[in-house]
């Protein structure tokens, strides 16, 4: 046994030295943390306690021209789950517990997880949107069981008369992966959309997204470790979206919906003097409210597989052969190129033989129209007259004239899916089919067939140009919005040609015209032009209206305006597979015009 004080003290000192070295090591560590890495840890300490919360702007409201609300924001209560640092299993169990007290559909759950995987910068994700009052009170009473579930007051987009305005207003929907890519590539957009969940997808909601949306603000707050609010550091107010007042008239929308409800088709009614759209209707329609919070798969499937294509906007996104509605425009082409004049007439035997060939083109009226001039040709829709006109005019001159009426070009209406249609020409054909133009195609074009395609919006736009005899601003959906681009007042053709053609269209509704059924019942002095567009090119078969499959029946068209002595409103109507223009489309247009004059008084 070493009982020696010297050894004991030496051993004690050894331990003291070791521990002192340990203390030195600790001091170095503290120097590293507090002096060398001070900035880093200060920053960490700051970010520990700072949270940025988005302040969402209110989306602009959409009104009709008489201030009836078409798209509004209604206050709803949503259930949100704080997903930060939670695994999928934890979230499933929270949702499982919630579904014991509230009904949570599979669809809602799927949407929740979809959003969680797509939106990396969101902390809270909505699970159940717009819970009803009963569920609200029930949840509030059990809230203490769900520390991570919060009740969020949120404005939900709601479309009043959604079905009546579906194609026009469109809808908003949750921001998709594709939208997000676009947003994230633009830092300014990323700020504007901070914390937002929805974006305009279709119609006006899409094309006016930037002004309707507004800009997100944010609130920088200090929280403690329990996420309880301590203080506000910074507050940037959100900029609410701008309201839109449309040129559209809700009453006309309702009426047009009513008139079209048994048909596949569309109509557009405009104010002739300023090209403002008053009614914009496509049928069948759908309920845009279904989309606002992510449409369910069943609903989506139903809309997409419906053979009547309810999602198709038949006003601007569908193009049809214009058929005989092209004839007034073609008349202008003939008159201004001196191929015909007011008095020029031909004899129509019921067919036309293309010169230097044996090719025969039939008139729709087998026995022929007899002696016709330009006015009677329009009124009776004489095909042979226009075959002859087109042949003598030639395709180039014909195209040059028709282009002035905006055929083959977009009208510039502010909607996302407008199609330009096709104004056939030798260049167009060579570009798309690598084939040379044939003379008979000129003949087909003259009656709005062949490759000729235009949308109802284009037809009404062309008609407005004709009636005003000048270039028109793009079709406008906004009330009293004047085009920024000054348009020249230069007449596009001699006024007297316009008068001749208008006279022809006026005769359409006379006792000799194709729409003579209203000859004695035309108090609003409607003028116009009927059209029947072949869907199916008849070769050897004869067209038997009663025994042909519905989808192969002719499209029924009508373009018109009223009153003919002082044109105020113009209209284009198309009824798919409706048969003759005079029997379906024209009467609908008349009812619409009559309704217009009834209601504005």
């Amino acid at each position: 046994m070493l009982n020696n004080r010297f050894i004991l003290v030496r051993r004690f000192n050894i331990l003291l030295v070791i521990l002192f070295l340990f203390l030195l090591l600790i001091t170095i560590r503290l120097f590293w943390l507090q002096i060398y890495k001070n900035d880093f840890y200060l920053e960490r300490s700051k970010s520990n306690s700072e949270r940025i919360e988005p302040i969402k702007p209110l989306r602009g409201l959409i009104f009709d021209r008489n201030d009836y609300i078409l798209a509004e924001n209604i206050l709803t209560y949503n259930l949100e789950i704080d997903i930060e640092n939670k695994s999928t299993e934890e979230l499933y169990s929270i949702i499982g517990e919630l579904s014991k007290i509230l009904s949570i559909s599979e669809h809602e759950r799927d949407l929740f997880f979809k959003m969680r995987s797509e939106r990396k910068f969101l902390r809270k994700i909505p699970l159940k949107i717009n819970i009803n009052n009963e569920e609200l009170t029930f949840f509030v009473s059990k809230k203490f069981l769900f520390p991570d579930v919060t009740l969020k007051e949120e404005f939900l987009r709601s479309y009043k008369y959604g079905i009546e305005n579906a194609h026009l207003i469109g809808y908003i929907n949750r921001i998709s992966k594709k939208d997000l890519e676009k947003i994230e590539n633009d830092p300014e957009m990323l700020d504007d959309y901070f914390g937002m969940t929805h974006i305009g997808k279709q119609g006006i909601e899409n094309s006016f997204e930037n002004s309707l949306r507004g800009k997100s603000g944010f609130k920088k707050i200090r929280v403690n470790a329990n996420n309880s609010f301590i203080a506000e550091i910074e507050n940037k107010k959100a900029l609410d979206g701008q309201d839109l007042i449309l040129s559209i008239d809700l009453n006309l929308q309702k009426q047009s919906h009513e008139l079209l409800k048994n048909y596949k088709g569309s109509m557009i009614m405009t104010n002739i003097s300023n090209n403002e759209v008053l009614a914009y209707q496509s049928n069948p329609s759908f309920d845009p409210n279904l989309f606002v919070n992510g449409i369910s798969f069943a609903d989506w499937d139903k809309l997409n597989t419906d053979p009547n294509k309810p999602m198709l906007d038949r006003v601007t996104n569908a193009v049809y052969p214009p058929g005989s509605t092209i004839k007034p425009f073609l008349s202008i082409a003939g008159l201004e190129n001196n191929v015909i004049n007011k008095d020029y007439s031909i004899n129509d035997p019921g067919f036309y033989q293309l010169p230097k060939t044996k090719k025969i083109f039939m008139d729709w009226k087998k026995e022929g129209h007899g002696n016709v001039n330009v006015i009677t040709a329009i009124a009776e829709s004489c095909d042979v007259y226009f075959y002859d006109l087109a042949y003598r005019l030639g395709i180039e001159k014909m195209d040059n004239s028709l282009r002035k009426f905006s055929f083959g070009q977009k009208t510039g209406i502010n909607l996302p899916t407008e199609k330009s249609g096709i104004l056939p020409s030798p260049e167009w054909k060579f570009k798309h089919h690598k084939k040379k133009w044939n003379a008979y195609e000129t003949i087909n074009t003259s009656i709005g067939q062949g490759d000729f395609l235009s949308s109802p919006a284009q037809l009404v736009h062309g008609l407005n140009i004709l009636l005003n005899n000048k270039q028109m601003p793009p079709l406008s959906l906004i009330k009293d919005k004047f085009s920024d681009v000054p348009l020249s007042d230069e007449k596009i053709t001699d006024e007297k040609y316009i008068e001749i053609v208008k006279r022809g269209m006026q005769e359409v509704t006379s006792s000799n015209g194709t729409f003579r059924s209203i000859a004695n019942n035309n108090k609003n002095k409607i003028a116009g032009k009927t059209g029947t567009a072949q869907v199916f090119s008849l070769k050897s078969q004869t067209y038997d209206e009663d025994n042909i499959a519905d989808h192969l029946k002719d499209h029924s068209l009508f373009i018109g305006y009223a009153p003919h002595d002082n044109p105020q409103v113009s209209i284009a109507v198309i009824i798919e597979n409706g048969g003759h223009g005079s029997t379906i489309a024209a009467p609908i247009a008349k009812k619409m015009i009559d309704f217009y004059f009834e209601t504005i008084k």
């Binding site: 004991l8 560590r29 943390l33 001070n38 329990n226």
Partner: protein
């Protein structure tokens, strides 16, 4: 009354006592900053300090020779207390370490810090004429018994402190270099076995967190990260008021107990830490001088062991809070909130003080 105080003070080392008071006042200040100066924790700690100082005074005036005489009984009672805790103790966070006395909970393993060294030191005379190896093996076994019970509570940190108090005595008593090397070798061989079979997952996790705290930020790594942030953001002279502190916002829990050093570092910075270290070094220096100058070998050995335990716990706590050491539940001696730990250390210093005062009276 005045005479009583004069009597008490006359038997204490003045410098040691003043340093002790400074440290305790500093502790109160830090606890106040951590949990608020009007919180019950602060008031209770004030009460503990007051009671602890009374105990310090009382023990200081005792001639503690009798402790050595009854050391076996004291040791057996301590072991029984541990077993009693294992049976009837209060379970907190899955471990049974505390005996609930209503006013405060006593951590029974703390008492072994006092009693194990007393028992071992008292045996030195008994084993005077036996072989050194036998003595060392017996000492090891005596130390391993409480270690095993505490390990089962489970409380690895306290267990290791108790075990090391035994090892320190064996070392100070002249363990040969050969045996030290054999011991280290044995430890290294047993290490993989320990890792695989003895350590629990959460304990392994804490050790792994040391290497990379951010690998598991939510679980064990949370404390390590938050306490590093608290210390690091303190800078040279402490965090300015424009930044909110980690502990005010509750990001770092348990700041008044095991993580009190983080509050010190955050509020007073590197400079504050250095001053704090200097005060402690002065206090330790005082204890070391007293210990070395005690007159009997066993007294010196006991005092030195106590001083070692004190320094060891002090360093381990700071190493743990600053991320150099796994998180083991060892409080900062004299500073952390809590009665058990405070009383034990005050009794330790009182015993050293008493040995010092009575050294002339005790025949060597």
């Amino acid at each position: 009354m005045t005479n009583l105080f004069t009597f008490l003070f006359s038997r204490t080392d003045k410098q040691l006592f003043i340093l002790l008071l400074i440290i305790l006042l500093f502790s109160l200040n830090l606890i106040g900053q951590a949990v608020g100066f009007n919180s019950t924790f602060f008031l209770k700690q004030l009460l503990f300090i007051f009671a602890g100082l009374m105990i310090f005074m009382l023990i200081s005036i005792l001639n503690i020779r009798f402790l050595f005489r009854y050391s076996l009984i004291i040791y057996v009672l301590s072991i029984l207390l541990l077993l009693f805790t294992a049976l009837f103790g209060t379970e907190i966070n899955g471990s049974k370490r505390w005996l609930d006395f209503g006013v405060f909970k006593f951590q029974s393993s703390e008492i072994l810090k006092l009693t194990l060294p007393i028992f071992l030191v008292s045996l030195i005379d008994y084993f005077k004429n036996r072989s050194q190896t036998l003595t060392e093996l017996v000492f090891l076994c005596i130390s391993l018994m409480p270690f095993y019970i505490i390990l089962k509570q489970p409380d690895l940190g306290s267990g290791l402190i108790i075990l090391s108090s035994g090892l320190i005595i064996i070392f100070l008593n002249g363990l040969s270099l050969k045996k030290i090397l054999i011991g280290i070798l044995g430890f290294l061989i047993l290490l993989p076995y320990t890792w695989l079979n003895i350590l629990k997952d959460y304990q392994k996790g804490r050790i792994l967190n040391l290497i990379d705290p951010f690998s598991n930020p939510l679980d064990g790594g949370y404390h390590a990260i938050q306490s590093s942030i608290a210390i690091g953001s303190g800078g040279l002279i402490g965090k300015s008021s424009e930044f909110s502190s980690q502990h005010d916002l509750l990001f770092l829990p348990e700041t008044h107990t095991d993580f009190i050093f983080a509050v010190l570092s955050e509020n007073y910075g590197f400079l504050g830490n250095i001053i704090f270290f200097l005060i402690f070094l002065l206090f330790i220096y005082k204890l070391v001088i007293i210990s070395i100058n005690l007159h009997s070998h066993s007294h010196r050995l006991l005092a030195m062991t106590y001083v070692m335990i004190f320094i060891l716990c002090f360093l381990i706590n700071i190493a743990m809070v600053s991320g150099l050491f796994p998180i083991v539940g060892i409080p900062l001696p004299l500073i952390s909130y809590g009665g058990s730990s405070l009383f034990i250390y005050l009794v330790m210093f009182a015993l050293i003080n008493s040995l010092n005062y009575n050294k002339t009276l005790i025949a060597d």
